[in-house]
């Protein structure tokens, strides 16, 4: 909770600065003495982990740009120059490429935490919206960044996604040509994606500052969903949360290092090591894994324009969430029915991810042919995508609005410091 500042400048320099620009006071109030709920579990460490990811991407990205050549002729070779000739170039490139995946792993966990514990509910709606904006900016940044190595997937992925805008009636084709800067994805497209890919992370950093500001106005949520009522409910951010965040970051770095040093290309696609060729389409165009659920939703809808709207609609549901959920109870720890729907939602997201990587007409259960519906066998990934997409939208548009009105909830504890009424209430 933003309260009264307890910072006392100790030295003369501190007092001098504090009277002119109270930045140390701001830092102290926000990250040292800041009252943090004492019952935060490890799901709350991902904010800090995300800041680490952003810093890592910014630093490695700026270094990569020192060596990268953003032209269609030279981009691919310049990335290989980085990998082979630049001192530690291989390390910086693999950190940046895998760092993007780590960034998305962390952001999905962070968002799911928010979903489960009701962190989007009043008074944290703006905090949640800012988070959605960050997520959108991240996706745009990642998409443009993937185009830069100018491999086959970079190029043809850009072709597929920019062509989506052609689905918009009347203005679609003009917008697509405007995006391309030509009649197809080519050098102008690469150059502008490079410019924007460099710009957007700084926009993300700005929105992150707003996000943390919005957080500090209302204070952290916590696993019980009950606001801190007294000093007994909180601990100072430093050292309690700092050291826990530090430990969590260190474990996260182990995962990161494992990818960078031992499986650096596992999350990518082999075709991107082939230089872009507009005349040859890869046998299987797949976006990066973090886009796969949305790609599945896009392909689930048979109509091109409706597919595009469904894909963006899936993201729009996130923005509308604070107003869709009617429950008076914040944390799903005390909402047993909602918990089940949530777990199912999580499973559906993973299923959508798998579907996004498969060919739509491939069978889900091998060698099994059932009957054809709307041009595809029922035992196909496109129908699985359709079922999963249906649940995805139903979760936001039907389950959450209705459940809040009809569900039976567990009793919510009075305060954080006296949490347990029964052993069950402490789980989850």
């Amino acid at each position: 909770m933003s309260g009264h500042s307890t910072y006392q400048p100790k030295t003369g320099i501190e007092r001098w600065l504090d009277a002119r620009l109270p930045i140390i006071r701001l830092g102290y109030d926000s990250f040292v003495d800041y009252p943090t709920p004492r019952n935060l579990n490890y799901w709350w460490t991902f904010g800090g982990i995300l800041s680490l990811c952003l810093a890592s991407q910014l630093i490695t990205g700026i270094i990569l740009v020192m060596h990268y050549n953003p032209s269609a002729q030279g981009a691919f070779a310049s990335v290989e120059h980085i990998m082979r000739d630049v001192n530690y170039g291989w390390l910086i490139r693999y950190m940046h490429a895998n760092g993007a995946s780590m960034f998305f792993i962390a952001v999905y966990i962070h968002m799911l935490r928010g979903l489960y514990y009701g962190s989007y509910k009043a008074p944290r709606e703006v905090l949640w919206l800012l988070g959605c904006v960050i997520y959108l900016l991240m996706m745009a940044t990642a998409f443009m960044g993937y185009v830069l190595p100018w491999g086959q997937m970079s190029f043809h992925g850009a072709v597929v996604i920019t062509n989506l805008f052609g689905a918009l009636p009347l203005v679609g084709e003009s917008i697509t040509t405007w995006l391309w800067g030509g009649f197809a994805v080519d050098n102008p497209t690469l150059n502008r994606f490079f410019s924007l890919h460099y710009l957007l992370p700084f926009m993300i950093a700005g929105v992150v500052i707003l996000h943390i500001w919005a957080l500090h106005v209302v204070g952290q949520n916590n696993p019980t969903g009950v606001d801190p009522k007294s000093k007994a409910d909180t601990v100072p951010f430093t050292p309690y949360a700092t050291v826990k965040d530090g430990f969590a970051m260190s474990v996260f770095l182990i995962l990161f290092a494992f990818f960078v040093f031992y499986m650096p290309n596992a999350l990518g696609h082999a075709d991107n090591y082939v230089e872009a060729n507009p005349l040859v389409t890869p046998s299987h165009i797949v976006p990066e894994w973090y886009f796969l659920p949305f790609y599945a939703i896009l392909r689930a809808v048979p109509d091109k324009l409706m597919g595009v709207l469904a894909m963006f609609g899936a993201i729009a549901c996130l923005f509308a969430l604070p107003w869709l959920d009617t429950s008076k109870v914040r944390s799903m720890r005390y909402r047993p029915t909602a918990k089940i729907y949530f777990v199912f939602f999580l499973v559906v997201c993973i299923i959508l991810g798998f579907c996004g990587a498969k060919l739509p007409d491939d069978p889900v259960i091998p060698h099994l042919t059932t009957f054809q519906v709307m041009g595809s066998d029922l035992n196909s990934f496109v129908w699985l995508s359709r079922a999963a997409s249906l649940y995805y939208f139903a979760f936001f548009l039907v389950v959450l609005p209705v459940l809040g009105l009809v569900e039976k909830t567990l009793p919510v504890p009075d305060s954080i410091a006296s949490p347990a009424l029964s052993a069950d209430a402490h789980k989850g």
């Binding site: 004492r38 019952n39 070779a77 290989e80 990998m83 082979r84 291989w90 390390l91 693999y94 601990v235 050292p239 309690y240 050291v243 826990k244 530090g246 430990f247 260190s250 474990v251 770095l253 182990i254 290092a257 494992f258 960078v260 040093f261 031992y262 650096p264 290309n265 082999a270 075709d271 090591y273 082939v274 046998s283 299987h284 918990k339 089940i340 777990v343 199912f344 499973v347 993973i350 299923i351 798998f354 579907c355 498969k358 491939d362 069978p363 889900v364 259960i365 091998p366 060698h367 990934f381 699985l384 410091a417 789980k427």
Partner: protein, 284 residues
């Protein structure tokens, strides 16, 4: 809790089924043969003798059509490379590197007359391509473009296993398969043969048609270290060489990774202890 677990279990079951997919997932080709490589695993290293043999195979057979344009001669003298020697930490001074480079000619401009000339390569030069450009390459190969090999081992899903499998995997086309002119049947090469197959449509043969004729055969390349030059050996050696060409920093990467992971595990331990100490008397 139990409910949660059973839902997750059901989902996991579905996922396993979903992920298994059809047996011939990779573009209809057979999954690549598994080879044990010296460089695989967290402590993998290139076998320098193997890299030298592999380079000989590349040089005498593959380089007629396949370029290696992202590799420089000096890379051969870098740590982990086929001609690295501790006596020459600067690969530009490495005599084997210089000798190999001198055997190749690269295009250049005469500084006095301005004419286009060919001069012997130095260690700083990249491997020259066998063809001047893509059109020339296609014209000499019946319209097919022999891919550049600098990244081939990373540009194929199964990497060096794939290269090894394709090169050793040529078999006679089964009866009922119409092989197009200039094509060769290879069960490890991706493709969809259903339109060229006149047999039972439930059993379309795996693989596809590759424009390259079988490039290697026993005894084609004599190995200087006396290793028996079987097809299998040549294929393994050239695949290992191409893996080095694609990822010359592999050894350095894995060695650094080991140190970094040890450090991070220790750091995590220290931070955990610090965390436990800070929170010792606080309810959490």
């Amino acid at each position: 809790m139990l409910r949660k677990l059973s839902v997750i279990a059901a989902a996991a079951g579905l996922l396993v089924v979903g992920a298994a997919g059809p047996a011939l997932a990779n573009g209809g080709a057979l999954p690549a043969k598994e080879v044990h490589w010296s460089f695989e695993g967290p402590f993998g290293k290139f076998d320098q003798a193997q890299l030298q043999r592999g380079f000989k195979v590349y040089r005498e057979v593959c380089s007629a059509c396949h370029s290696l344009k992202l590799v420089s001669f000096r890379n051969f003298g870098d740590k982990g490379g086929p001609f690295y020697s501790e006596k020459y930490p600067n690969s530009n001074d490495n005599p084997w590197v210089k000798a190999i480079a001198k055997d190749y000619e690269v295009a250049d401009i005469d500084s006095e007359t301005g004419d286009a000339i060919k001069r012997p390569a130095t260690s700083a030069d990249h491997f020259p391509s066998p063809f001047a450009n893509e059109a020339a390459a296609r014209a000499s190969n019946g319209g097919a473009l022999p891919p550049d090999m600098s990244l081939l081992a990373k540009a194929r899903e199964e990497g060096p296993n794939h290269i090894y499998s394709v090169v050793t995997g040529y078999v006679d086309a089964p009866k009922g398969l119409t092989v197009p002119t200039g094509g060769h049947y290879n069960p490890y090469f991706p493709g969809d043969l259903s339109s060229s197959w006149h047999g039972d449509h439930k059993h379309v043969p795996p693989g596809g048609f590759i424009a390259m004729a079988p490039p290697l055969k026993a005894g084609l390349v004599t190995f200087d270290d006396g290793t028996k030059s079987t097809l299998d050996q040549q294929a393994k050696d050239v695949s290992a060489f191409l893996m080095w060409a694609a990822e010359p920093k592999l050894e350095e990467r894995k060695q650094t990774g080991f140190a970094v992971l040890i450090y991070l595990v220790l750091l995590s331990g220290l931070l955990y202890a610090s965390y436990k100490t800070v929170w010792k008397n606080e309810s959490h």
